[in-house]
């Protein structure tokens, strides 16, 4: 059932109205109710599939099936409040929805027309009525470009994508533009790789087009491996708007002269894989992928390749060799993939989020994109907020937004009244941003200047109860595990680095160890074969730079200031608070607590295992760990 351009436009014109209603609150006169339920991994895990089932059941029961559409969408971003359900046209944001609330919500809202305010996101309920969610603290500073369709369309229905001007950019490119012009547009926009490298996308495409101009085969690859723990931006795009990636890859294929694309998805994303399979199938059915797209002589098709749990396969040459069926070990460059990549042919590899920006740039123009952001970092960036922050989830902000704005205003601050200590960006390749840089405008170069890096967009917030030495050790444990083993500086170097960090957290480190560690870091960075090794020392160097005093406390005072490193903890009973009830002594597995009834008890430090059972047992808060 191939579609011509005219038929594509007809679908768009038919569906556009109903889809665009879902972007903003409006009054309900004559409009059909549209109930959007998040079907991303987070909300699905919290039971959103059952909620959709219950909704359909109740709607049928109440006989209003012709007045209501229930749509499963991708991620809305405010994952902390899932499962999320938004009803348009009012834009009523129901949060943490439970299955048992559905019968009432259907009755009150969909049958009787009264929004059920007690189940709404508190911030949207005001005395003047319901606030649009675009005005809430979480959303008002966001500018959703890459995420524009996530939470708006049903990702398993290609017509809804077409309804948002989907595939119009591809049509424009292959019928009205020359490949060189496409490349120039991307160059002029200033789009830089969103996977962490920040390499100018237009430049990458230009090299792939020109270095080997008469290659018999070229490839377009998409890096959907998203290995950084704590990063789920790409997952949400793939689950919520898979067609945007397909469209962008086809545009890239036209630009560089490729007719085949591969999306390398990590196997840990089953929902994303499923949505991509559906999307590719639907695109092929409409003739948007395959031979002779839109009646031109441009052919392009896409296949999926699954990862198998190796972080290093997010590195471009490792990814390509993994597709070829080998151990995912990187290789030296040059030659770069633009010259010799997959199966030895010129190849471009771009990140999911990078691709998600491309169709809009083509439709709205390079200037529209470069008007956002900072001088050298144009456009927006999606961040995955996690850790000690109230509003965990996905946010997309213009480059140049400060860390303070992201953490305090959008993120809702630190829970339980704790103090902000650091934000980790860039995952295991990145560094931390301490409180003294809270007002830093976030962009590629500013973060590198303070010894961190943007990375893929994972932003983990830490508070006063996190130990930065322990965090550095955590990242090194990850890198040691994931090192492919090919080059000695990384294979052996990171292991030795981890051993020193372990020594320090066990209270056996010396000041010399800190110096040795720093030297080792620079050596590993300078000599490793690929980005994994070259950036593995970053968490150590960054925490040493901003939290050296914590390392010194571990080494000189044998103390962990944050109270995390178990071997350095000292459990103590406050004699003023202790009532001598003996509850702690009875629960202590090591028999380390001494004292008779009604007299203050004492912990024998030599026997104490630091298990914490006594703290949990004490009703008087008399026991603390230092």
């Amino acid at each position: 059932m191939k579609k011509s351009l005219e038929e594509l436009n007809a679908i768009r014109d038919k569906i556009k109205g109903q889809v665009e209603v879902r972007r903003e609150s409006s009054d309900s006169a004559d409009k059909k109710y549209q109930v959007l339920v998040c079907g991303g991994t987070g909300c699905t895990s919290s039971g959103s599939a059952k909620i959709i089932e219950k909704l359909n059941e109740e709607i049928e029961k109440n006989g209003i099936s012709d007045k209501v559409d229930v749509i499963k969408t991708g991620c809305f971003g405010l994952c902390a409040l899932g499962p999320i359900m938004i009803v348009y046209p009012e834009g009523a944001f129901y949060s943490m929805v439970k299955e048992e609330e559905i019968p009432e919500i259907v009755r009150e809202h969909l049958v009787n027309g009264h929004v059920d305010t007690k189940y709404l996101y508190k911030e949207t309920v005001t005395n003047e009525g319901i606030k649009s969610l675009n005005e809430t603290n979480f959303y008002k500073k966001q500018h959703r470009v890459a995420l524009r369709n996530c939470g708006v369309i049903n990702p398993e229905n290609i017509d809804e994508y077409i309804g948002t001007d989907g595939y119009q950019a591809l049509a424009k490119v292959i019928t009205e533009m020359k490949p060189e012009d496409v490349i120039q547009t991307i160059l002029d926009s200033g789009l830089r790789g969103r996977g962490g490298g920040g390499f100018p996308t237009g430049m990458k495409w230009k090299l792939a087009r020109n270095i080997v101009p008469n290659a018999d085969q070229k490839y377009v690859c998409c890096n959907a491996d998203e290995g950084d723990p704590g990063a789920f931006m790409d997952r949400s795009v793939l689950e919520g708007d898979p067609h945007v990636v397909l469209e962008a890859m086809a545009i890239a294929g036209y630009a560089i002269g490729a007719n085949q694309g591969y999306i390398y998805v990590r196997a840990e994303y089953p929902i994303a894989i499923h949505r991509l399979e559906i999307a590719i199938g639907q695109a092929r059915e409409y003739g948007i992928l395959g031979k002779g797209i839109f009646g031109t002589d441009f052919d392009f098709d896409i296949e999926l390749r699954l990862g198998a749990g190796a972080f290093v396969c997010g590195e471009e040459t490792a990814l390509m060799t993994s597709i070829e069926g080998n151990r995912g070990e990187p290789r030296p460059r040059p030659p770069f993939p633009a010259e010799k990549g997959l199966y030895g042919k010129p190849t471009i590899l771009n990140n999911v989020e990078t691709y998600a920006n491309v169709p809009r740039i083509i439709l709205n123009g390079a200037e529209w994109f470069s008007a956002m952001g900072t001088e050298k970092s144009k456009g927006t960036k999606v961040f995955a907020l996690g850790g000690k922050i109230n509003n965990t989830g996905l946010v997309e902000v213009p480059m140049g937004t400060t860390l303070r704005e992201v953490v305090e205003e959008i993120g809702g601050g630190i829970p339980h009244g704790k103090k902000f200590k650091a934000a980790q960006t860039g995952g295991p390749s990145g560094g931390c941003i301490p409180a003294e840089h809270f007002d830093i405008p976030i962009d590629y170069d500013n973060l590198i200047a303070i010894g961190s890096m943007m990375g893929s967009g994972g932003l983990i917030v830490m508070d006063e109860d996190n130990c930065m030495v322990d965090i550095a050790k955590f990242f090194l444990e990850f890198t040691v595990d994931e090192s492919c083993g090919k080059c000695t500086p990384c294979r052996v170097g990171t292991k030795r680095l981890l051993e020193i960090l372990d020594k320090i957290t066990r209270g056996q480190g010396t000041l010399e160890d800190i110096d040795k560690m720093e030297e080792l870091c620079y050596y590993i960075k300078a000599n490793s074969l690929c980005g994994l090794g070259q950036t593995a020392p970053n968490p150590v160097l960054s925490t040493l730079k901003f939290f050296r005093d914590e390392y010194v406390a571990h080494v000189v005072d044998k103390r962990c200031p944050a109270g995390v490193c178990k071997k350095l903890l000292s459990f103590e009973i406050d004699p003023d608070k202790c009532k001598g009830c003996t509850a702690c002594a009875r629960v202590c597995p090591a028999g380390a607590i001494e004292g008779s009834v009604k007299t203050p008890h004492v912990i024998n430090k030599d026997k104490c295992l630091k298990c914490g059972a006594c703290i949990e047992k004490c009703k008087f808060g008399a026991i603390s760990k230092k």
Binding site: C79, G227, D228, P229, G230, A231, R235, G309, M462
Partner: protein, 164 residues
């Protein structure tokens, strides 16, 4: 990471072998066929014992040592069978910062097995995984396809009880 060959005897059935050969046949003439073949073989058998690797080597022409090299490289390929209930604790950054390390250690203690191992009755296997992307629910663990989020150490007993 699976790097020790299983000592549990191979119990593959003729149906499984038929399925395996069909998978190999449909892919073997494609470029880069090894990864998809291994992934589908693992779906059939639950893991990739040396016996299965030998069949793949014979049918595709790839040397056994190359196949073994690929299987031992990727964390998802298992050389040991999994338990009936596979417990996977996310140790990604967002979950770790919220205490998933303690949950993992508690499970090791309660089940009496190491990470990557399986209880002797074949019921529970335990592994750590890196980031399944549900960071808004940190800390997270999965038991087969069930996801449990916003956990504390005290929730473990209740979760294990569901599968007994």
């Amino acid at each position: 990471m699976g790097s020790t060959i299983s000592s549990i005897p191979f119990a593959g059935t003729p149906e499984q072998e038929k399925k395996l050969r069909a998978v190999i046949d449909s892919h073997k003439n494609e470029k880069g066929c090894l990864m998809p073949i291994l992934q589908q073989a693992q779906e059939i058998y639950g893991y990739l014992p040396i016996e299965v690797q030998k069949i793949i080597a014979a049918e595709t022409g790839y040397p056994l040592e190359k196949i073994y090299g690929v299987v031992t490289f990727y964390a998802q390929f298992a050389l040991n069978p999994k338990g009936q209930y596979k417990i996977s604790v996310c140790l990604g950054t967002a979950c770790y910062v919220k205490g998933s390390g303690d949950i993992y250690n508690k499970l090791i203690e309660k089940l009496g097995i190491d990470g990557g191992g399986c209880t002797p009755d074949g019921k529970f296997s335990l592994e750590a995984c890196r980031c399944i992307g549900a960071c808004g629910l940190a800390p997270v663990l999965t038991v087969n396809d069930d996801v449990y989020g916003r956990l504390t150490v005290d929730d473990i007993d209740d979760i294990l009880a569901k599968y007994n």
